[in-house]
């Protein structure tokens, strides 16, 4: 079954009463609970980084450089003696900020374009679909490598690139889901009673499709986090003095022959984040999407 079909099915069946049931389903899924715990821990650590971090992430302490992980330095220290654990906590802030801002911006713009395509005249629909397909034609990482340096590396360039390349994902899905909800009889009834297009969109279409689309958005968060780390690793993402998991990987990779655990440590937060968000996203979809529900 394609993602589109499942979304359409979900769009038809997620109602307000389904929310509680879905949440119960989520808590009954061990992998979902596992993902939820990882994500909650991560968010907690990132939000309270300044209270939790045992050291100043930027404090250089050359004599204690390249220390292996220990109780003093949970993830060891880097080539300047900075505490990797503290740096990872602040890197988590950047990762979550990039993920949330890009996802919501892309979701908002994509939803708008999707509605426009679904409601607008035929030529506008074709134009928007062509536009979305054109953006989709660029391989994200390679495009970012080309365009990123022109706009200057930094958080906002990363967010800009990720938003631009994620818009088609939401735009196409919202368009399809809207078109399918539009075919429902209750929409025909509303139209017959003379409801305006705004009323139909806001009162009927949006509540019907927003749940499944938020779930898809949650599944895209690990992809965005990976992309941010990747771009920072390549030197077109986050720049020092800010910290990023990708920057830490890049640093560690440079010393891979000398002290391999440095790059191993740098990879751990990224693994936890991507695993957590992926398991949670999958479980959310299973819990709320009846077509994907597990057989009894």
């Amino acid at each position: 079954m394609s993602r589109r079909d499942s979304l359409v099915a979900a769009a038809k069946s997620t109602g307000r009463s389904g929310f509680q049931r879905g949440f119960q389903n989520l808590l009954a899924d061990p992998m979902g609970v596992f993902g939820l715990l990882l994500v909650l821990t991560l968010v907690f650590l990132a939000v309270f980084a300044n209270f939790i971090a045992p050291y100043d992430p930027a404090k250089i302490d050359v004599p204690s450089k390249f220390l292996a992980p220990s109780w003093d330095h949970l993830l060891g220290t880097d080539e300047l003696g900075r505490d990797m654990f503290s740096r990872a906590l602040y890197g988590g802030r950047v990762a979550l900020k990039v993920a949330l801002v890009s996802t919501f911006a892309a979701l908002a713009i994509g939803t708008f374009l999707g509605f426009l395509a679904a409601f607008g005249p035929k030529w506008l629909d074709h134009l928007i679909v062509l536009f979305l397909d054109t953006i989709r034609a660029y391989p994200t990482i390679i495009l970012a490598l080309a365009v990123g340096p022109m706009f200057g590396a930094g958080v906002w360039t990363v967010i800009g690139i990720l938003v631009a390349t994620t818009i088609p994902y939401y735009g196409r899905i919202v368009r399809t889901a809207t078109l399918s909800v539009m075919q429902s009889e209750f929409i025909d009834a509303e139209r017959a009673m003379g409801a305006s297009i705004w009323r139909i969109t806001v009162i009927h279409i949006l509540p019907n499709i927003i749940g499944p689309i938020l779930i898809l958005a949650s599944m895209d968060i690990p992809v965005i986090i990976t992309a941010e780390a990747g771009l920072s690793f390549l030197g077109v993402g986050i720049k020092p003095p800010e910290t990023s998991w990708g920057l830490m990987l890049d640093q560690g990779y440079k010393f891979i022959g000398r002290t391999p655990w440095m790059v191993i440590s740098a990879g751990i937060p990224l693994i936890i984040a991507t695993l957590g968000f992926t398991f949670l996203g999958e479980a959310l979809r299973d819990a709320f999407d009846p077509k994907f529900k597990r057989e009894p």
Binding site: L145, V147, P260
Partner: protein, 315 residues
């Protein structure tokens, strides 16, 4: 069918042309002026305008785009700033290495993912099915960059089973394959999981269809039903996904090529970006965009061949 093919191919061309034009405008509009970087900080305004005139950058934008597109159509991607060689030659030199890597990853993904998904669907809810499910989601989640780096530490630095860097000895196929293993796993392992899940879901759905029940009622052997009827339909979505997947794999290939110091367009791109060699970076983006659109188009066409419902839906 012919109409569908033509429509898809024309659409592919339109998208490539639009994508290239958009990129051209974007590059010209970007705040970091490539010309200023090309001539260096000590250039006079006269030198800059002379270069702009020589490159045709003083003409109106639509004319520039048209000139650029005709250039691309004739294989003219400009000159490498450093080596003074045509960019197209360099791209064509590096592209095969990346294509081999992506092909190896696709083979890995399909060769492992489809049987695993098929097995999972036939043994639904067994412990093996659950294990495949959890492992699939895990390998989808973990970034290929991490797999490349951890794989290098474990298999090349620690265990010394696999070579760490390079393409392998020229002409020695076995050595080259040996060098291909780790990069291909880094790029492809996530797709093994993805395809396994996709095939499992598709198989389960197909096996519930009426015509499968019908075939069972006719007493056709289960093996025949599974492979001849169900798998054929269940594989169709994997082809679409692999078509789109080429784009993601191109991204992963950049990381694999850098980590394993392996020649290819990703490594070439990375090296060019760090010295601001714009013609090369543009050339790589163009080549990879064309590659990606071609892959999506071909996968759509194959899909339409396999599953008549798709071409009917489009026509």
């Amino acid at each position: 069918m012919l109409r569908f093919c033509l429509h898809r191919i024309v659409l592919g061309f339109v998208i490539v042309i639009l994508a290239i034009s958009t990129l051209y405008v974007l590059v010209q509009a970007a705040p970091g002026d490539p010309i200023a970087l090309m001539v260096g900080p000590r250039a006079t305004p006269e030198m800059i305008s002379a270069l702009k005139e020589r490159l045709g950058l003083d003409q109106p934008m639509p004319v520039q785009i048209f000139n650029f597109l005709t250039g691309v159509a004739q294989g003219d991607l400009g000159l490498d700033i450093k080596t003074r060689r045509p960019v197209i030659d360099e791209v064509l030199e590096q592209l095969p290495h990346t294509l081999v890597l992506i092909l190896a990853s696709v083979i890995l993904a399909a060769g492992l993912g489809i049987p695993l998904g098929c097995y999972s669907a036939l043994h639904q809810n067994s412990w093996a099915d659950r294990l495949v499910g959890i492992l699939s989601v895990s390998v989808i989640a973990v970034p290929s960059l991490i797999i490349a780096i951890y794989g290098m530490i474990l298999f090349a630095v620690h265990l010394r089973w696999l070579p760490a860097i390079g393409l392998g000895e020229r002409g020695n196929i076995l050595d080259q394959l040996h060098h291909l293993i780790m990069p291909a796993i880094a790029v492809g392992i996530g797709w093994v999981g993805y395809l396994a899940r996709l095939v499992r879901a598709a198989m389960l759905e197909v096996l519930n269809e009426d015509y499968i029940t019908n075939a069972r009622a006719f007493g056709l052997p289960e093996r025949w039903i599974t492979f001849r009827y169900a798998l054929r339909i269940a594989v169709a979505p994997t082809i679409t996904v692999l078509g789109i997947g080429v784009g993601y794999m191109l991204g992963s290939a950049v990381f694999a090529e850098i980590v394993f110091a392996r020649p290819g367009i990703g490594k070439m791109m990375y090296d060019a970006v760090s010295v601001r060699n714009y013609p090369v970076t543009m050339g790589v983006v163009l080549a990879s965009t064309i590659l990606l659109v071609a892959a999506t188009t071909v996968s759509d066409l194959i899909n339409a061949l396999i599953d008549p419902r798709i071409r009917e839906a489009q026509e």
